[in-house]
Amino acid sequence: MAAHIQDIPSQVRRDILRMVHAVQSGHPGGSMGCTEFFVALYFDVLRHNPRPFNMDGPGEDLFFLSNGHISPVFYSVLARSGYFSIDELKTFRKLNSRLQGHPTTHEGLPGVRIASGSLGQGLSVAVGAAQAKKLVGDDRLIFTLHGDGELQEGQIWEAALYAGAKKVDNLISTIDANGQQIDGSTDDVMPMGDIGAKFAAFGWDVMHIENGNDLEAIRHGLRTAISKTGHGKPICIVMRTAMGYGVDFMAGTHKWHGIAPSDDQLTAALAQLPETLGDYPA
C-alpha cells in the first residue's frame, strides 16, 4: 500500500501501458484518462472489502464499470487495492487468464460483479443493485463509470429515465467526458450536446468535475456527490478528462483509444511515469 495516494496514479499508468504493450492490444487512452478517478474511488472513497471478495457485497459500496474496454485501469487498481495479486496483471488478455480483454465474472476475477464491453448495459445493472440495497436496508452506495461516447446507446437513457423517475438516490454515476470515441471526437461522430442538462432533464442531480485528472478535485467531487445521496435523486458527475493523460504524446487524442504502444513508445512513455510502488514482474 502506498504511503501517499498521490503516488498511485503514476504506477497505475505504468501498469496500463505495460499490460497493453505486452499483448499489443487493449485500450490505453481511456484507461489513462480515468486513472485519477479509479485511484480516488478505490483508495479513498469506496467502503469495500477486497478480501475475501463477496459478489453480493452486503454492507459495501459497489462499483460497476460500464465502459468495459478500459479494463487495464480497472485491473490495475483492483490488484493494487488487494483484490488479487499484482503478479496476475501480466496475464492480461492472454489465454487462460482471469483478466479477459473486457471485464467478466465468468473466470471468477475478484472485484468484478458484471461483464461489460458491449456498451450501455452497466447503468441498468447498477440500478438493479441499488434497488437490491434499498430492499434490505443496506445504506451503502452504488457507483458507476460510463464513457461519453457510450451515452449514444439507447439503453443508457432507459436506465436514466428509470433512476430519475423512481428516485434511485443511492446511485452515483460518473461520465468520463473525454470528448473522444473510436472514429474521432464525439463532436464529429455524434455530438452529445450538454450531457449534464440531459441528465438533469431525466431527474438527476448533476455535478461537474472540470479537471478529472486532478486527484484532489475528484476526491472532493466524489465526497460532495456522496453528501447529495438520499435526497430523492440519483447523482450524475460529468467529469472532464483527457484521453491518454500522463504521457505527453498520448494525451488528448482519440488515436490512443485502442492502440498499443510500440517498444520505443513504451520506453518513452515510462520515462515520464515514475515507478512509485514497484512494477509487477513481467
Binding site: 458491449s118 447503468l123 432507459e158 428509470y162 423512481k166
Partner: protein, 316 residues
C-alpha cells in the same frame, strides 16, 4: 385413448401468475419486474400484494433485463415479464452479456409466444425464441404444456440457481396435467407408452400430440408421446430409451424448425442413434393474423399434421 382429461381450459400465463404469487408468499428473495404488460403477464396479483418487490420499468425491456441482473447482486431472485418477442430477440445482447455470460440468477418469463398469440400478427408471434435462448451457454429453457405445469415450473425455477428462460402463451388450452405434480427441470415426461413411433412435443402442441396419438391408435399405431417441457438441458436418456423401442420420431413445436426442439433431438439422434425423423414446426416463415386454431392449421402444427407426420415417418 390417452388417459388425460381437460379439467377446464386455462391460459398458461395464468399458471405463471399463480406460481409467481405463491413464490411471493413463500420466498422473500423473489422479486418481479415488468415492462408495462403486468395484466397480460398475469403479474398483477404479485404486484398488488408485494409492491415493494415489484418493479415497473415502463416500456424499456433492455433496461429491465439489466436491472434484473443487478438485483441478483445482493441475492434477489428476479423474474422478468414481457412478451416472448420482447423477452428474447429485442434484448438478446443484454441477456447474453449481463445475464448468461455474467452467470446471473435471472428468470426470464415470456408470454404470448408462438403463433397462438393470434390476431396481433407476426410482429409479436416470435418463433425463434427457443433457438435464441438455447444457444446461450448455461441457459435453461423451459416451455410447459398447460396451466398446472406452468405453475409448477414457475415455482421450480426459483429453486434452481442459474439463468432460465420460461416460455408460455396467451390462449386458453386444455389443462390436463396433475395439479400436484412437481416440475423437475431437465426431466421429460412420457405421457403415453407406445411401440411404433415417438412423438416429442412441448408447450401447446403437447395436447395436439395426444390428440394425434388417439387418431393413430384408431389406426392400430401405438404412439409414445413425450412432453419435453425442458428443451435445455435435453433429457437424452428418456429420448433414447423411447427411440430404441420405437425406431421412429416425430417432433412437434410452435417454433421455427431451425433452432427448435427438433434441431436438438436430431442432433442427439444423429450422434447416438440415427433414426428416421419428421419435424412438425414452422418452416422458415413468419406468422400472420388469425385465430390460434386457424394458425395452427395453416402453418401445419395441429393434431392432423402431427398424425400425418407420424404416418410419413412410418413409411420410411
Amino acid at each position: 385413448m390417452h388417459p388425460y382429461t381437460d379439467s377446464g381450459s386455462k391460459d398458461t400465463r395464468s399458471g405463471f401468475g399463480e406460481g409467481l404469487l405463491h413464490l411471493g408468499k413463500t420466498n422473500p428473495q423473489v422479486v418481479a419486474l415488468c415492462a408495462d404488460l403486468t395484466g397480460s403477464l398475469k403479474m398483477d396479483a404479485f404486484a398488488a400484494e408485494f409492491p415493494e418487490r415489484f418493479f415497473q420499468t415502463g416500456i424499456a425491456e433492455a433496461h429491465m433485463i439489466g436491472m434484473a441482473a443487478g438485483l441478483t447482486i445482493g441475492g434477489k431472485i428476479p423474474f422478468t415479464g414481457t412478451f416472448a418477442n420482447f423477452s428474447t430477440g429485442r434484448v438478446y445482447d443484454q441477456i447474453r452479456q449481463s445475464v448468461a455470460y455474467s452467470g446471473k440468477n435471472v428468470k426470464i418469463c415470456a408470454s404470448h409466444a408462438g403463433l397462438t398469440l393470434g390476431e396481433d400478427g407476426a410482429t409479436h408471434q416470435i418463433l425463434e425464441d427457443i433457438g435464441l435462448m438455447k444457444m446461450l451457454p448455461g441457459m435453461t429453457v423451459i416451455s410447459p404444456c398447460d396451466f398446472n405445469q406452468t405453475k409448477a415450473a414457475t415455482m421450480a425455477i426459483a429453486a434452481h440457481n442459474g439463468p432460465v428462460y420460461l416460455r408460455f402463451g396467451r390462449p386458453k388450452v386444455p389443462n390436463f396435467t396433475s395439479p400436484d405434480a412437481p416440475f423437475v427441470i431437465g426431466k421429460a415426461d412420457v405421457l403415453t407408452t407406445g411401440k411404433d413411433v415417438t412423438i416429442c412435443a412441448y408447450g401447446h402442441l403437447v395436447w395436439e400430440a395426444l390428440k394425434a396419438a388417439d387418431a393413430l391408435e384408431a389406426k392400430g399405431i401405438h404412439a409414445e408421446v413425450i412432453n419435453f417441457a425442458t428443451i435445455k438441458p435435453l433429457d437424452i436418456q428418456t429420448l433414447l430409451a423411447s427411440v430404441r423401442k420405437t425406431g421412429r420420431v416425430v417432433t412437434a413445436e410452435e417454433h421455427q424448425r431451425n433452432g427448435g426442439l427438433g434441431d436438438a433431438i436430431g442432433q442427439v439422434l444423429a450422434m447416438h442413434y440415427p433414426t428416421p425423423m419428421e419435424m412438425v414446426a414452422v418452416n422458415d416463415s413468419f406468422g400472420e393474423s388469425g385465430t390460434p386454431a386457424e394458425l395452427l392449421t395453416k402453418y401445419g402444427l395441429d393434431a392432423a399434421n402431427i398424425e400425418a407426420a407420424a404416418d410419413r415417418v412410418l413409411l420410411r
